[in-house]
């Protein structure tokens, strides 16, 4: 469960990205976060994984206050979350398999099960046959899916995606959305930020609208 209480984020230059946000996302829920660019979507997602810290207010994830988290505890918070980045953040010096392997190397892993877990994640996103490909040789949609495979390989409880369909064709975008729905169906909490209105047309999930740092109801 993710709970925001009176959360504000003001940057040192005075720009207010988020203004007094109150928000609750239940365990196992799938939620869309939408709004124009600059409305504060990315900031909100970054607060959840402690990439940014709020100026005021509290953020609780499974009862733990993220706003006051010690530096040493941040890595362990991030291991509970799968993050899909807007710019993918893939490593171009290693192949698809090794990109997906990284989260398992970071959290002490048992070498026997590792390879099968990486392949399961790659299979889930339909990239099993490309495990030896370097990211440079993958298309935009494939890179996005590789990023998703890396986010789910350590089986996080929470999945956060920042503009996951950014530059993709509608057909690819729908595939990706179907993937997220399937993760949600096995109990993963999913939070997706998007400004792509076409994705939201026929969804039954909750849609949150951010306007100038405030939640519009």
């Amino acid at each position: 469960m993710i709970v925001f209480k009176n959360v504000s984020k003001r940057y040192p230059d005075g720009y207010v990205a988020l203004n007094n946000i109150d928000l609750t996302v239940d365990s196992g829920e799938m939620v869309f976060l939408t709004g124009h660019s600059g409305a504060g979507k990315s900031t909100l997602l970054k607060l959840i994984s402690a990439i940014e810290r709020p100026t005021s207010g509290t953020i609780a994830i499974s009862g733990q206050n993220i706003a006051r988290l010690k530096l040493g505890a941040i890595p362990y918070l991030r291991r509970k979350i799968g993050f899909i980045f807007q710019d993918h953040k893939l490593l171009f010096d290693r192949n698809a398999f090794n990109n997906v392997l990284l989260p398992l190397q970071i959290s002490s892993f048992d070498s026997k099960t590792v390879a099968s877990r990486v392949r399961a994640a790659l299979d889930k996103v339909g990239l099993l046959k490309k495990e030896k490909s370097m990211p440079i040789a993958l298309s935009g949609g494939e890179r996005q899916r590789l990023c998703i495979a890396r986010a789910i390989v350590h089986r996080p409880n929470i999945l956060i995606a920042d503009e996951p369909t950014g530059n993709l064709d509608l057909e690819y975008a729908r595939d990706i959305m179907a993937l997220f729905t399937s993760f949600n169906q096995v109990g993963v909490t999913v939070l997706i930020a998007t400004h792509d209105a076409s994705l939201l047309e026929d969804t039954q999930h909750r849609i949150l609208l951010l306007k100038q740092g405030k939640l519009a109801v």
């Binding site: 994984s49 990439i51 291991r79 953040k89 490593l91 970071i106 892993f109 048992d110």
Partner: protein
């Protein structure tokens, strides 16, 4: 848990070795540069050790010569011998009678003519003693004590020689320490810079690892391994440089020492010193890497 931890460290070790081998020339030259730097103080240290072992005996149990008065008889000699034997400061003694001394002199090269022309033996009876005292103050005290005995004409002891040697060895040790300190700083600096460059080229990997939950120690680990292994290899290369040099010098020295009829060759580094050298070098590499990581990693924070 322990197995996972071992696996992880084994994996980092494997990656580090792979990284070192992937740039063989760079690695080789860094190791050689650092090895040469370390071999200088080590070389001087070995030389000093050898000097000490050659002169060590003399320095540790100094020798004094007691020349007795001409007019004394055998009884007096026995009394002196008894006195010397019961002095706690004296380890060993040897009586050299005037006849024996003359005989020895006659056997010395080039002196036969002179000694055969002598009407009577001008040499006195003498004792050669070795003492446990090795500070010049105590030696002087002992010398003065013996000098006071009525049967003793003269006590000869060159304490200035011992003092000079000790001062020289002390200076040598100081030079070794100073060189070692300066070059250690140089090695730390070299490693600091090497790791700084690595961190720069690994910027993306570090940032992404942090984003997906890597702890600081996880991110530090490969750099620390790199520093330690390179330090270890540099220590080993310093060891080879010194050992090889000693081997060469010994080969050349054979001809020289034969001419003078002495058997003199340089001892190699002891196993204890060899291990210390390599461990110290590894420590320097680790320290350089640790400092570099501490001052550069925090700059890479995910945005």
């Amino acid at each position: 848990m322990i197995r996972a931890w071992l696996t992880q460290h084994g994996f980092v070790l494997f990656l580090t070795l792979k990284r070192l081998i992937s740039t063989p020339l760079t690695t080789l030259f860094s190791i050689i540069v650092m090895g040469i730097a370390l071999s200088m103080p080590t070389g001087i240290y070995v030389f000093m050790k050898n000097l000490q072992s050659v002169t060590g005996e003399a320095a540790n149990s100094p020798q004094m010569s007691l020349f007795l008065r001409k007019e004394i008889n055998n009884e007096d000699i026995a009394k002196i011998k008894w006195n010397l034997e019961h002095n706690a400061n004296i380890v060993s003694l040897q009586f050299v009678s005037k006849d024996a001394a003359l005989q020895q002199l006659q056997q010395s090269n080039g002196l036969t003519d002179i000694t055969s022309n002598l009407q009577h033996n001008p040499l006195p009876d003498a004792f050669v003693i070795h003492t446990t005292q090795n500070t010049s103050d105590k030696l002087e005290q002992l010398r003065a004590e013996i000098q006071n005995w009525p049967e003793v004409e003269h006590v000869q002891f060159d304490s200035a020689w011992l003092e000079r040697l000790n001062a020289l060895l002390k200076l040598g040790r100081f030079v070794v320490l100073m060189l070692a300190a300066i070059l250690s700083v140089a090695i730390i600096a070299i490693m600091f810079n090497t790791i700084r460059l690595q961190i720069l080229t690994k910027h993306d990997e570090i940032e992404i690892s942090k984003l997906i939950g890597a702890t600081d120690s996880f991110i530090r680990r490969p750099f620390l391994y790199f520093g330690t292994i390179q330090g270890l290899a540099s220590g080993a290369s310093a060891w080879f440089i010194v050992t090889f040099s000693i081997e060469l010098i010994n080969k050349e020295a054979v001809a020289f020492t034969h001419l003078y009829g002495i058997d003199l060759y340089l001892q190699h580094l002891s196993p204890h010193d060899s291990i210390s050298l390599i461990a110290f070098s590894a420590l320097l590499g680790w320290l350089g890497a640790r400092l570099s990581v501490a001052s550069h990693l925090w700059q890479i924070e995910p945005q």
